[in-house]
Subunit: 397 residues, 2 copies
Amino acid sequence: MGAKNVCLMTDKNLSQLPPVQMVMDSLVKNGINFKVYDNVRVEPTDRSFMEAIEFVKRGAFDAYVAVGGGSTMDTCKAANLYASSPHSDFLDYVNAPIGKGKPVSVPLKPLIAVPTTSGTGSETTGVAIFDYEHLKVKTGIASRAIKPTLGLIDPMHTLHMPDQVVANSGFDVLCHALESYTALPYHMRSPCPSNPITRPAYQGSNPISDIWAVHALRIVAKYLKRAVRNPDDLEARSNMHLASAFAGIGFGNAGVHLCHGMSYPISGLVKTYKAKDYNVDHPLVPHGLSVVLTSPAVFTFTAQMSPERHLETAEILGADTRTARIPDAGPILADTLRKFLFDLDVDDGLAAIGYSRADIPALVKGTLPQERVTKLAPRPQSEEDLSDLFEASMKLY
Amino acid sequence: MGAKNVCLMTDKNLSQLPPVQMVMDSLVKNGINFKVYDNVRVEPTDRSFMEAIEFVKRGAFDAYVAVGGGSTMDTCKAANLYASSPHSDFLDYVNAPIGKGKPVSVPLKPLIAVPTTSGTGSETTGVAIFDYEHLKVKTGIASRAIKPTLGLIDPMHTLHMPDQVVANSGFDVLCHALESYTALPYHMRSPCPSNPITRPAYQGSNPISDIWAVHALRIVAKYLKRAVRNPDDLEARSNMHLASAFAGIGFGNAGVHLCHGMSYPISGLVKTYKAKDYNVDHPLVPHGLSVVLTSPAVFTFTAQMSPERHLETAEILGADTRTARIPDAGPILADTLRKFLFDLDVDDGLAAIGYSRADIPALVKGTLPQERVTKLAPRPQSEEDLSDLFEASMKLY
């Protein structure tokens, strides 16, 4: 790539760990100048994005290496974008309706993404997600232009992950696969954009993304529990690391829908919950947890639009569907998911992470601006539907 | 793409058919100048490539549209390459040891590939194959740089295909899938190239290509016979058209091995055989047929290197493998393939297309230069092994 001045982006925890050391050694060995930015926030915000952007604008870098989870890769994508488009206002590229959703036409610098968690698939996608603090909701930037140039998917980097991080990031893979496989089919999305450059990054489910979704789901079914329970199970952790990238290729192309759309206020409105195994100084609902807690309710709601696909995924996750009836597809998948989560000691619904019925209006309000993904749900939702879905997710077992 | 002067490349048969008419109508409607080159040879040669190259050099085109099968797409790739590198000698980019195998560093023009057969997957690959007349062998050009910019995989274009063209092109998909899935694993390929630019286009089997190979094979197992037998079965022909692209993504990345390596002299040394349904003025063994006739022998030979994969593919193709023993993997897959070919009335081996034992030394000699692919076989082959494989392929049933 001819890089001479590299920005190595990571977070404070990882900056002390072998994956970052390995990259620094390689840069030193190859005589390439670099600066480290290790101030990435886990579950980043517009403010933390902007700090990173200011740093890289001053550095005049010609390439980026992001070492970390989705938070780090997403921060690095945003930094690369705004450093390459220095006169843009921050909201210019942020998804509408919160931002202006402008298409990206400036050339970006090469970005090498080195994932150290197995969930986000961010190394394969053109999406960067953050908390917009002013509105207390998650939103993001979505453009093919910010997709990393290269992803280095090295399973050795996953061996340091605590078990809850493995579980929660694995739930993200699970939902990427389930949501992209059940998303509105690409030929039913409307209106048709007037020009290819205004096509959204998320196209709806299609024959290419389906392959990745189903394959990733098979790996989750086979390996996620093993990867959580035994940090030395290299086979399981390697496969989950690939599954994260595979599901990323699928959903990065097809999109996700309600679990993700509803997850953004669930993490954005967090009160005091602090997840075990996450070394952060602020309340935090990990992304994968915020996504998976609504999954039984969501797939009960969407099953009528593609019951065969819902049954097929239930079967992959271990359900015996030989005598299943089509109208039961939703409850069968929901029960399969509940059992899967119970086996992994997941918190018993939104109530267990600090929400009550009184929070539902705010959770619904935080979901409404997530049109980019909620519009990809196979079934349209009213505010009442969303309210029912949050209520059904208060308790799982 | 900003194109103002387009080369539309096709063959004489297709130039009278709807897929070409549709492209011309679109170019006219959009006010884009274009010239048609319809002199593509089915199973192209160095001479036919050179004619196309001379044509496009004179035309100073800024974009290409190739409408046809592998022959047309491959000719267009070569034309685009040499027009973009006008001072290169033809052999510069041809695979070693026949050519010099130089890496491509010039920028090419955009190429839109519109496949009208369902086999080659050429719309997804950086490979262009031709008969080198002087040596009577097939060889090619392989570089990521010649991969089409865009493939338009429209199943309506497959409805005009005669049944033998559907069958033979489907066999190409079958062998792309089987060979790439059983190819030497990427981490066992050696020696390691000194620089990424000299990495071959074919990397060996890997977790990404495996997904495409297995998925394409499942589609072949389900739809090929239907697509051959009923030209109006749009579901079957649509799925085979996708399978062709899917297998292309797989083998374009992993590579193929012995069926393809041995097929080049089988078609290059053709005597008088003229395949039914091919409207050409010269003897011709269609590529897919030349590939599939050796498949029972080849997979019997390779099975010991990955018997589980050989059994898995036999099962996908319909074999009952519940009580199968590992050492029988090769014969089981071979028998499954024989039954599959017999059901589709395929010629009974190399003898049925005009070869005898006396031709075997020449067939072996024509295979030896195909190192680019034969080296990807999971098991190394001596000249005697190749001779045995040709002999075992003389008669199938």
